[in-house]
């Protein structure tokens, strides 16, 4: 079995045919790195979790509490945040 380890982040960029990489999101050739994607997922997870949970606090008159769909959505948001955290240390490898 051939297992290739990309030795450095620069190598990873080489593998992608030296795709130009820019830190400005709306530049022509910007692509997310694992770290940036990690931050994005972390933010989505935290904000999403807070928003879904907040529905019950804001809409206090509603009956039934946290419903089954809401529970699934909360789990997905929590998972998103955890995955985001684990991606942050992966640095500048392309996502």
């Amino acid at each position: 079995m051939t297992i290739v380890i990309y030795q450095t982040s620069n190598n990873a960029l080489d593998i992608e045919d030296r795709m130009l990489y820019s830190r400005t999101m709306f530049r022509q050739n910007f692509a997310f790195t694992k770290r940036q994607l990690g931050f994005l997922l972390l933010i989505i997870g935290i904000v999403g979790f807070g928003t879904i949970f907040g529905i019950d606090i804001i809409d206090a008159g509603r009956e039934g509490g946290v419903g089954p769909v809401q529970r699934v959505a909360l789990f997905v948001m929590a998972l998103s945040a955890v995955i985001g955290l684990s991606l942050i240390p992966l640095g500048d490898d392309l996502a």
Partner: protein
């Protein structure tokens, strides 16, 4: 390495290769057999002249209306109380057949069947493109067709599987679009990919889950391009939506959006999730492993995001009233692609890992065992497909050839309809179809047709199944499910229909699942009485006549 150690290693490798070939042969035989069952089922249904699955006839009515230049999204509160909750593309594509052959079921079923073959081909292509292994690509395509969920709906006169085909083609087109260097070629590819996604959305609304995955993928690869194409996608999709809303005086909106806001049943959602998992776990697990691999050790592909999006969102929407196992069809396509790529990479020994803390922790220590891991992988891949074929195994237990096979292998009829199904028709909202129709079913269908034919032409007939009205050249009155779900959201005033029932204006009423609004059913019970029940496809059709009323 010494010469004898090298010889030992080569010998182990050769043995592994031989075992691999035998096992992969068994996997191919099993999945090809499921392919034969699928073709037999499709031929059986194509020759069946009535509804097999609830609602097929109304799809045919939609086709006939489009063929006459009419929208099926009309005022449901006035005679003939007809509406449709589905987008138009599937029906529009069948219009030329309607012009040539009239109101027939066979062409809609044949069309759907062909779309499943194209879908399987597209899955195989995606796997081959990423993994460069023809056998695994073939197995991945066959695995899609072997899923009982795909099998159920494959040859039906329903739009769901055509949506799946458009989704798969759209995703395959977009998979490597961002990496195309030539700008005009890249734009053409992106445009084509989005056209297929719009086609999927205008075939059935669930394609939105695939569109979400496609846009997320493009966003990760290039946010600027994703936003540009996303805006274009929204303008075109929204423009068609607005035109349809205006062109139908708002009925398109009411019937395709309002009518699709339905109650959620957790028990149904969890039951279908369990079925999806229990039947397909052996391919879901490798697909999930491959998603994790891409997430941490390689670039994330559109297939991974597609799998996540369609699985999570389909699992949630599968709990709504009227949903069924078919909601997982796109997720099945996605895991067939991912598990196929995973398998091909194992066979072709073609893995690459980013150098990071996780690869240093989990991958580096394993590098010296790559030979052994590779040999084990050669065994595991065919075993996964063999196991999958057994877990999804379904076949008729009667009929030429099948009865003998069932006897030899001890395969029992666990559905009561001469059919073996891995679920046995036990789970709530799992489609109780897949069995073959019989000559008796056809004869019984024509018995109902004869009953309706005996009613004078100027007296209307209310049939819950459109086929009987179409076969007797009568007006199709009501699309019951549409009336029922719109009544739940107070968007249907039944007074005119109930008035006709109370006045006993219908010569005969034919009921099947009784999917009418409650007040309509109450009126039927009060003013009509059951004359007889006629069985067809395992369902019981109630024939009702006007009740003798005391004045």
């Amino acid at each position: 390495m010494s010469e004898s150690a090298e010889q030992q290693s080569t010998s182990r490798r050769l043995s592994a290769d031989i075992i691999y070939r035998v096992l992969i042969g068994i996997a191919l035989i099993l999945l090809l057999f499921q392919g034969v069952v699928y073709v037999s089922y499709a031929i059986n249904l194509i020759n069946f002249p009535f509804d097999y699955d609830q609602g097929e006839g109304f799809e045919l009515v939609d086709v006939m209306m489009f063929s006459e230049g009419e929208f099926p999204y009309a005022n449901i509160e006035t005679y003939p109380f007809y509406g449709s909750i589905y987008p138009p593309l599937y029906h529009v594509l069948l219009v030329p057949f309607a012009w040539l052959f009239g109101a027939e079921y066979w062409y809609g079923r044949l069309f759907s069947f062909v779309t499943t073959l194209i879908s399987a081909g597209a899955i195989g292509y995606a796997v081959y493109q990423a993994g460069r292994n023809r056998t695994i690509a073939l197995l991945a395509g066959l695995a899609f067709l072997a899923s009982p969920i795909v099998y159920h709906i494959g040859p039906l006169f329903r739009q769901h599987i055509s949506m799946v085909m458009f989704e798969i083609i759209g995703v395959v087109l977009l998979a490597n679009a961002s990496e195309i260097k030539n700008t005009s070629k890249r734009r053409r590819r992106l445009a084509l990919g989005f056209i297929f996604l719009i086609a999927a959305g205008y075939t059935k609304q669930l394609a939105a889950f695939t569109a979400i995955a496609a846009l997320a993928f493009l966003f990760i690869r290039n946010p600027r391009r994703s936003i540009f194409w996303g805006i274009g996608f929204a303008i075109v999709g929204g423009g068609i939506f607005a035109l349809l809303t205006i062109g139908t005086d708002g009925h398109w909106w009411t019937q395709t959006v309002v009518a699709n806001v339905k109650d959620f049943f957790p028990q149904q959602a969890f039951g279908l999730l369990r079925v999806w998992w229990e039947m397909h776990a052996l391919l879901i697990v490798p697909a999930a492993i491959y998603v994790v691999y891409e997430l941490y050790f390689d670039r994330i592909s559109i297939y991974s995001l597609w799998f996540i999006s369609t699985t999570v969102l389909s699992a949630m929407s599968a709990g709504t009233w009227g949903a069924g196992d078919s909601y997982y069809a796109t997720s099945i396509a996605a895991f067939c692609v991912l598990s196929g790529i995973f398998a091909a990479k194992i066979i072709e020994r073609n893995w690459a890992f980013y150098d990071n803390y996780l690869s240093r922790l989990f991958v580096h220590p394993l590098r010296r065992y790559t030979g052994q891991i590779s040999n084990v992988g050669l065994m595991i891949v065919p075993l996964l497909y063999i196991g999958y074929a057994l877990m999804t195994f379904h076949m008729p237990t009667s009929g030429a050839g099948y009865e003998q096979i069932a006897d030899v292998f001890g395969i029992s009829d666990n559905t009561g309809r001469n059919f073996h199904d891995p679920d046995g028709y036990t789970t709530l909202a799992y489609a109780q179809i897949g069995h073959f129709t019989t000559d008796e079913d056809i004869q019984n269908g024509y018995r109902i047709v004869d009953i309706i034919k005996a009613v004078p032409d100027d007296i209307p007939v209310l049939s819950e199944e459109a086929a009987f009205s179409l076969r007797t050249n009568r007006a199709v009155i009501t699309n019951p499910v549409v009336l029922m779900i719109l009544s739940w959201v107070n968007a249907f005033d039944s007074s005119e229909l109930v008035g006709m029932i109370r006045n006993q204006e219908f010569g005969v009423i034919v009921l099947k699942a009784q999917f009418y609004p409650t007040d309509v059913l109450l009126a039927i019970t009060e003013f009509y009485e059951e004359e007889q029940r006629i069985p067809m496809n395992g369902f019981s059709y109630m024939i009702l006549r006007p009740r003798q009323m005391e004045n």
